[in-house]
């Protein structure tokens, strides 16, 4: 059973659909990336999966649980968490408080969980009593990811976690993403940087104008003419 399953999902803002008939699965312990030009609907899809937007058709499953009609705020406690693209931390709360808020939907000992997470995210550990707003952009992204991990998720959805980061910090974030997948969590990452997306992912979906006709193993996708696909000029085979 996949960690996350989206089936024939159509959604948008208001009447006009932005994404059309998207199907996608994220297996346990793997990284799946979504790439595509600006405005292709990548963020829209992410928001739909995590319950911020309601799909007009299709269904979304976390494990064997159908969450299609579930109110967004109830979803994290079923193991699906989301890290938004921008402004993703509580800037006036400390690092520790951010993590505590993240642990709200968690069961069990959140203090122990926080210590575990902080021992991996060493930058955050050093800054645990600092206001999150004082962290660098990269550290804020890491904090948002760390906070999402507080519920010990089965699936995590990250929307451009490395946007605007230096190459070195991009490495740090991707390392963490790979670690998370290695714990058995399914990871879905929206990524602008094609090279990175291909390097770190097991599966890749290319979104163009609200559809994901092209998708497959990272190695297969790497051999395609991506520029042509991004511009909507080529239609590769489904894999």
């Amino acid at each position: 059973m996949p960690a996350l399953l989206a089936e024939n999902v159509t959604a948008g803002y208001g009447r006009t659909p932005i994404i059309n008939d998207i199907s996608l699965t994220v297996e346990k312990g793997t990284v799946t990336t979504i790439i595509g030009p600006n405005g292709a609907g990548k963020s829209t899809f992410a928001k739909t999966v995590v319950g911020i937007l309601r799909p007009t058709t299709g269904r979304i499953m976390v494990g064997d649980l159908d969450i299609t009609r579930m109110p967004g705020h109830q979803i994290p406690r079923h193991g699906l968490v989301y890290v938004p693209q921008n402004d993703n931390v509580f800037k006036n709360l400390t690092v520790r408080e951010n993590l505590e808020v993240g642990g709200f939907a968690a069961q069990g000992n959140t203090d122990a969980r926080m210590e575990e997470i902080l021992s991996v995210f060493t930058d955050l550990n050093k800054a645990r009593e600092k206001r999150a707003g004082y962290l660098s952009g990269g550290q804020q992204n890491l904090l948002a990811i760390a906070r999402a991990l507080m519920v010990d998720p089965s699936v995590i959805v990250l929307d451009e976690p490395t946007a605007g980061l230096s190459p070195a910090y991009t490495d740090v974030v991707w390392n963490q993403v790979e670690r998370i997948a290695a714990t058995g969590t399914g990871v879905l990452v929206v990524e602008q940087n094609v090279e990175r997306a291909l390097k770190h992912a097991h599966f890749v979906h290319i979104f163009v104008a609200g559809s994901n006709h092209v998708h497959g193993l990272a190695s297969e996708i790497a051999s395609l003419d991506l520029a042509a696909i991004f511009l909507g000029r080529a239609e590769a085979n489904r894999s």
Binding site: I75, A105, V151
Partner: protein
């Protein structure tokens, strides 16, 4: 007792009362980010209900009002607080559920104006423009208090109530609930993605704040024995905002300082100053201007207020930090299936 002491205790009363009002608005605006521009309306409802439940049946009093149960203090005060909560539920259901920040603020201003017009013009409710008067003074007959000794007595009583409510409020703001409210203030969207039912928390914050507003209002009518629409012009809300902005949003001690500076020194003290010859009432207007200018100066030079919000440090953080040494053993992260898989390797390099 000399007239001077009478004035001083009046100021003391308003200091404590506005401390209570400031705490109520602060949990809504300072902690949760709800711009409640109708705040004074909640204060008024608390005042009217406190008064109307302690007054005897209206027949024969020469006033018109509902309730008239002749309840003793503090039962009537409690009902005043709860009545303000009831208004909060109503307002939350029509406005808070669907609207955010500025839009909510606009709707709340309208709520304030509608409430004002209804109470001012619909006489059977709370005696219209004349308002309620002759409200019994709490404990006055039991303790044989005179008009003069009642003032210091009630100022002290209000101090006790304020202290109690301050204790409760600091418990709330330090609790996980307070933390969640501040998270919602920072970003309600992100809070929702973390599993917080944002509306439920905003409603909770509205209810707590409204209870404080209602009690603060109830104390005002108990102190002065009367309450009418001139006491709660919709613009009064901004005096309470001035208190919390000057004192320091998100800091309970700052609120007391704000109440002292704005409410006591600027609003009430000048009322005891002699009139400027030939211009009766001018001081009151100068006052409004001074408060406005002070607000602008504060927002420009010290937006965090006189006493800024503190970073809430965990009392245990130092201990836990030192107990966690940076060795490179693997940590076990349990997966959702309940099995444990050793995976995350301790980070040794930076990051």
């Amino acid at each position: 007792m000399s007239a001077m002491w009478y004035y001083v205790f009046t100021l003391v009363f308003f200091l404590f009362d506005y401390f209570i009002l400031a705490m109520g608005l602060n949990i809504q605006y300072g902690e949760t980010g709800i711009l409640n521009f109708a705040y004074i309306g909640f204060v008024a409802v608390g005042a009217y209900v406190t008064g109307a439940t302690s007054l005897p049946n209206a027949a024969g009093t020469g006033q018109q009002y509902i309730l008239g149960w002749g309840l003793p203090f503090p039962l009537n005060l409690l009902l005043g607080g709860l009545a303000a909560c009831l208004l909060a539920v109503f307002v939350a259901l029509i406005a808070l559920r669907r609207l955010r920040t500025d839009y909510l603020a606009v709707v709340l201003i309208s709520v304030s104006l509608v409430l004002y017009d209804v109470i001012n013009n619909y006489v059977p409710l709370f005696n219209g423009a004349d308002g309620l008067y002759n409200v019994p003074e709490p404990f006055a007959s039991v303790l044989k208090l005179t008009t003069n000794s009642f003032v210091p007595f009630f100022a002290a009583l209000t101090g006790v109530v304020a202290l109690l409510m301050w204790w409760v409020m600091s418990r709330i703001t330090k609790s996980p609930l307070g933390r969640t409210l501040r998270a919602i203030r920072d970003d309600d969207g992100v809070a929702a993605t973390l599993g917080k039912g944002v509306f439920r928390y905003q409603l909770t914050s509205m209810l707590i704040g409204s209870f404080y507003a209602g009690v603060g209002g109830g104390l005002i009518i108990q102190f002065g024995g009367s309450f009418n629409p001139t006491a709660w012009l919709p613009a009064e809300t901004f005096v309470v905002f001035a208190v919390i902005l000057v004192g320091g949003v998100g800091n309970n001690v700052g609120l007391l300082v704000g109440a002292l500076l704005v409410e006591t020194l600027l609003i009430h003290l000048p009322a005891f100053l002699p009139d400027i010859p030939g211009h009766p009432g001018l001081i009151e207007y100068i006052d409004t201007i001074v408060v406005g200018v002070l607000l602008m100066v504060m927002l420009w030079f010290r937006p965090q207020g006189v006493v800024p919000e503190r970073v809430r440090r965990s009392p245990f953080s130092l201990a836990t930090r030192s107990s966690k040494t940076l060795d490179d053993r693997a940590i076990i992260v349990p997966t959702n299936d309940g099995e444990s898989t050793p995976v995350i390797q301790q980070e040794t390099a930076n990051g």
